[in-house]
Symmetry: D2
Subunit: 333 residues, 4 copies
C-alpha cells in the first residue's frame, strides 16, 4: 500500500470545510501520513504566551487538506480508518481563552460578567513513559497523565455551497472533539460534494469528555489514515466503528438535540445492521447505549452514542470494511 | 450491624420528595434492606399490558421511605452506601409511553404529531446466567443482556417547603436515572430539612445511558444500604464516590446546564480534595473527565461528571467514609 | 357584589403553591381586594440595602392566599378577573441579585466567573403623573417611566401532592412574570386540587418583557380581583383573555419549549373557539401571533403567545365570561 | 437620487451569504429597487402543490444580490434603509413542510414520529383592500388578514471565509424572519468582507412572531432600499432602528441564547447612545424592553429586543442617519 506523506506549510492550511481547493487528489485505498499543526498554529509555547495576545482567532484549528477522493460523489460514503496518531512535538498546550469554553459566558451564552483569567498551561510530553504532565498555574500541584492521542477535527465539505469554520461540528463531521476519534477507529461520513474534500486537524494528546474549558492538550500530530470510498449509503450523520463499538455523533444546540440526533442515527443504523423495527431499536438501545458527551464548547455541542458489540449478535457494516481496514492497517505498522 | 428490613405496602409508598411524613426513623450507621416496587407499581406484566391503559401516571416511581435520619439538620451531609441491589422479581418491564421519552414529542417538547405506538416489552430474568432477555415486539430478534442493577431514584426532601414528584431529578437527588447508582457506590446528598427524609425507588435491572425511551428494564428491587451522617459540609449537588471514580450529578434543562452544574460541582470538590484553585481544577478536569449522560427524558435532564481516581494522587473525601463503608458492607455480605 | 379585603400579616404569607392551608374560603363570584407585599418582603428600601445582605432568599415572592374556592374540583377552570392593580407604596425596588438574572451566570447556567456587582435601584412613585423614576447607580442618568402595574405571580396548587416555590412558573401558573397579567385581564387556570387554592403576589409597578435582570420595579400592590369557577374544561396551561387578545402562557426550559407549549395550547384553544383543525390553527396562528417573551430568569422561562381578536371572527370562550366580568368589574370601580 | 432596478433571473439567485461573486457594485447612497422571488422559488402555486413534491430544498430562500458596496471594509457598518416593500404577485403561499417548523420534530429536534401532513395554503391578495385571505385546508373557515410586507432575509457575507445557507440567521443577519424588517426600518450590519456583499430575499406578505409552522405568507416582493455606509463602528450583531424603537436581533440556539445576545447588544448600544454604565443599561432595559420572538424554526432561532424611543431622552445613532434616510426616502416615494 502506498503511504503518502503530507506536511503542509502555513499557507497551505485550510480553516474551513468547503470553500477551499483540494490540497491533493487521492485514490480510494491510499494511506496518508498527515502532519497537522495544533489548534493554536503553534502560538502557545510557554505559560507566558496568553491566548488573548498570541492567538489570532481567525486562524485556529488549521486543517491538513482538503483531499479530493477520486470517484466520490454526493450520496457516497467516505471511510477514514485511523491507523496511528503520534504526537509530533514534545509538548502540548491548553488555555482558558477569555469568553470561550463551557464554564464561562461566551459570545452565545452572553452575560455582562468579566472573563475568567486568561491562562495557559503547557504539558511536557515524556515519550518513554507516554505521559503529559499537568502543572497547576494558580496552585501547587502537578500530575502525569497518560497520552491518549485523538483528532478533534475530521470532516468533509458541506452541501449547498456552504463553507464552515473548522471550529464547527455538524452533519459533515468537523470539530466533533470526541476522544473516540483515535487510532483503531473507522469514521464514516456522507459525501456532499464531488471528491468529498475531507481534511483533518486539531490533534489532542488527551482530552476529557466535554472538553470543559474549550481546549484539550492541543498538539501537533502525525496521523496515519487509510482512505476508502463506498458508493452510495452516505449516512445522515457521522458514524464511527471500532473493534468494540458501533457509534454515532450528533452535533447541535441545545445539547439534548445533539443527543437526539445521535440516538436517532444509531436507531437507523441498527435497522440496517439487525433488521430491527425503529421501535425495537429504540427500546434495545435505551437499555445498552453508552453516551459520553464529546464537547459542550464548540459552535455546536456534540454527543456520542455507542453500542457495545459484545452485547450483540455479530453484524457487519459497509461490507465488513472496518475489519478489513484493521488488517490493512496492521500491514502498515 | 443492625439490618432493618422494610417491605412497604402500596398505601405506604411515597410519590414525592418532601411533603410526606417519615415511614420510619433510623440512626446513622443503620443498614437497611429495602424492597421497592417498580416504576409502574407492577402494572405491566405482559406485552399486552399497555402503559396508556394500565399505568396511572399519578402513581409512578413509588418510593420506599422517607426515612428520618436522627440528628440530620439542614447543611449536613447524608451518605448512603449501596451494599447490594438484587432483582426482587423474575422479570422487568419497559414501555414506550405515549408522549414520554427522548425520541418523541412530550408535554414539554410539544408538537402536533401523533404519538409513537404504545408498546410494552417484558424482560425475563435468568438468575443463573444473570441476564434479562430483550425480545423485539415489531421485529424478529432477541438477545440476552447482563443484569446490572441500579436505582433510578435516590433523594432527600427539598428545602423551602417544596414537595417534588418522584419523577424529578434535582439538587436534592431524586430521579437521576444514572447507572452509577449501583452496589459499591456511596451517594452524598446535602440535607435540607430536619431528618433529611430520604427515600429510594425506581429499580432498574439495567439501563443505557440517556434512558432514551424514558423507561429502563424496570423491576422491583431489594436494596441493602448503609445510612451515615456527616455533620456540615452538605454539597450543593449530589456527589457519588466508588472505588474508581469521584462523581457529581447535575440535573436541569437544557442538557448543557445539567452538565455545567455537574462540572462546576466537581471543580468545587477538587478544590476540597486537592487544594486546587478553581482555574486549575477547571483545566485538569477538562483533560480527564468522563461524562456519561444519565437521562434526557425526566422533568430535568441529568449528566454525570466523573474523574478516575487512578489518574490522580490519593485523596479522601468526608474523612475517608467511602472506604470505611466498603469495609462495613463487606461484613454484611 | 361583596368586596372582601385582605391584608395578610408576614406570618400569613405563603411561599409555595401547594402545601399550605387556605388563608380563607371564598365562593365563586366573590370580589377580593388583596394587599400583597413586594418580592423582597419590603427589605430593599434604599440603594444602600443590598440584596445579598437584606434579602432572605427563602422568603421571596410572598403570596397572598391561598384561597379555597368553594366547589372547585380537579378538572375545573378557575377564572380570575383583574379589576384593578394599585401601587400600595410610594416606591418600588429592583436589584441585580448576585448570580440571579438573565445576563449573568446562575446556579443553573453555572460558570466559574465572579458575580455582577450587587446593586439596588429605588424607583420613587409620582402618583399624580403616574410615573416611577429610574435613577442610574453607576452613571449620571435618570428618566421617568409610566407606571404599568402587573402581578408577577398568579397560580393554583399543583397536582400530585407537589408544592412548588413561588419563584416557579409552571402549568399551574405561578411566577410567569408577564406584563399581560394586569387590570382588564381574565386568567383561566386548570384546577388541580379541591378548592383550587390560588394565591397572588409579586406586584410590579412596571416590567420589561424578559425581566432581564431578574427583578422588575417590585412593589407592594393592592389588587382587586373577581373569582369565578367554571365546572370542567380546565386548560392544560394558563390562558389569558383581555378585550383585545386571546393568550396562552408556556413555561419551561429551554425557552423554545416554553414557546412550543404556549403555541400548542393556543392551537388547542383555536380548535375550541373556531372549530379549526389543528393543522389549520397551526397555519393561521403562524401568520398572526404576537409572541412576547415573559421571563428568561425564573426557575422556568415563560413565553406568551397572543392572537389579536380584531383580526378574527367574533368568538367567545367559557360562555363569554370575560365580557361579563368586565361588566361586573365596571360596577366595582 | 439614482434608483437602480434589479430583477434577477433564476441563474442569478444566490443561495448563500458569502461564497458568491457580486451581482453588481453599488456606491453608498444608491437606492435600489429589488425584485425577489418567494422562498419556494415560486414552486407552490395551488394547494395541490405539495412542498415534498415541488420544492427542491437546495434552492430555497433565493437571494437577490449580493451587492458589493464600494468602500466597505471589515469593521465598517452597512446601513440598509427600507423605503418600500410591495407584493410582486397576487398571491402568497405557505406550507407545513414535513419535518420542518416549530411544532414538529425536525432533523435537529429528532424524534421517531411520523411527519405532520404535508399541506399547502394559498393566500389570494386583494390589492384594493390590502388583504390576503386565509382559507383553511382541513376545516371550513376563512378570514382576510391585512398585508404587512416584510423581508425574512437581509444579510452580508460572514467573516473567516465562511459561506452560509440563506436559511441561517446569524451575527451577519441572514434569515432572521422578523416582522420588524419592513418599510421604514433601517438595518445596521457589521461589515465582514470587502464590499460587504449584502443580499435580500424571502419576502413575506405577513408573518406572525415565531413563524410557528416555518413558513410565512411567502411572496415575491419588490423592495426599495437605500444603501449607506458608515466607516467603522460595525456592531457585533444586527441593529434595527425605526421611528419608534431601538432594536437588536440575536440568533442562536437554544432560544434563551438568542435572547441573551440581543439583550447584551442593546445594553452595549445604550452605552453608546446614553453613556450608561452596563449595569444601569441592564437595569433600565429590564423595565422597558419589548421582546418579540422572531422565529423558532430556522437553523438558528431569533429574538428581537426593542426599546421604545418615546420612553427615553432624545438620542441619535450613527450621526442621525436613520432620520436622514427617512427624509431621503420621502423624496423617492
Amino acid at each position: 500500500m502506498d503511504l503518502v506523506e503530507i506536511v503542509p506549510s502555513f499557507e497551505q492550511y485550510a480553516f474551513t470545510f468547503g470553500g477551499v481547493p483540494p490540497l491533493r487528489r487521492v485514490t480510494p485505498g491510499t494511506a496518508l501520513r498527515l502532519w497537522s499543526d495544533d489548534a493554536f498554529c503553534g502560538a502557545l509555547r510557554s505559560v507566558e504566551d496568553l491566548s488573548s495576545e498570541k492567538v489570532d482567532l481567525r486562524y485556529v484549528n488549521p486543517q491538513t487538506g482538503p483531499f479530493h477522493v477520486e470517484g466520490a460523489e454526493p450520496g457516497d460514503t467516505l471511510a477514514l480508518h485511523f491507523v496511528a496518531m503520534e504526537p509530533a512535538r514534545d509538548w502540548g498546550a491548553s488555555a482558558a481563552i477569555p469568553f470561550f469554553g463551557g464554564l464561562t459566558s461566551t459570545d452565545r451564552v452572553a452575560t455582562l460578567q468579566d472573563p475568567l483569567p486568561d491562562t495557559t498551561w503547557i504539558y511536557e510530553l515524556d515519550r518513554a513513559r507516554n505521559t503529559v504532565t499537568f502543572v497547576a498555574g494558580h496552585s501547587d500541584f502537578s500530575v502525569d497523565l497518560p497520552v491518549e492521542p485523538m483528532l478533534g477535527t475530521v470532516g468533509v465539505a458541506p452541501p449547498g455551497g456552504e463553507a464552515r469554520s473548522s471550529l464547527v461540528p455538524e452533519r459533515f463531521g468537523g470539530n466533533m472533539d470526541t476522544p473516540q476519534m483515535r487510532a483503531g477507529t473507522t469514521c464514516f461520513l456522507g459525501v456532499n460534494v464531488e471528491g468529498a474534500l475531507f481534511s483533518v486537524g486539531d490533534g489532542h494528546y488527551r482530552q476529557g469528555e466535554g472538553e470543559a474549558c474549550g481546549t484539550a492538550v492541543e498538539g501537533a500530530m502525525t496521523t496515519t489514515v487509510i482512505v476508502e470510498l463506498i458508493k452510495g449509503g452516505g449516512p445522515a450523520w457521522p458514524r464511527l466503528e471500532d473493534d468494540t463499538h458501533w457509534m454515532t455523533v450528533g452535533s447541535s444546540r441545545p445539547l439534548e438535540d445533539a443527543w437526539r440526533i445521535g440516538q436517532v442515527e444509531l436507531v437507523r443504523w441498527f435497522g440496517e445492521l439487525y433488521g430491527l423495527h425503529a421501535m425495537d431499536a429504540y427500546q434495545l438501545l435505551s437499555q445498552i447505549t453508552e453516551v459520553p458527551i464529546a464537547n459542550v464548547v464548540d459552535a455546536n455541542y456534540s454527543a456520542v452514542v455507542k453500542a457495545r458489540k459484545s452485547l450483540l449478535p455479530t453484524a457487519s457494516a459497509y461490507g465488513g470494511l472496518h475489519a478489513e481496514l484493521r488488517q490493512r492497517a496492521a500491514g502498515l505498522l
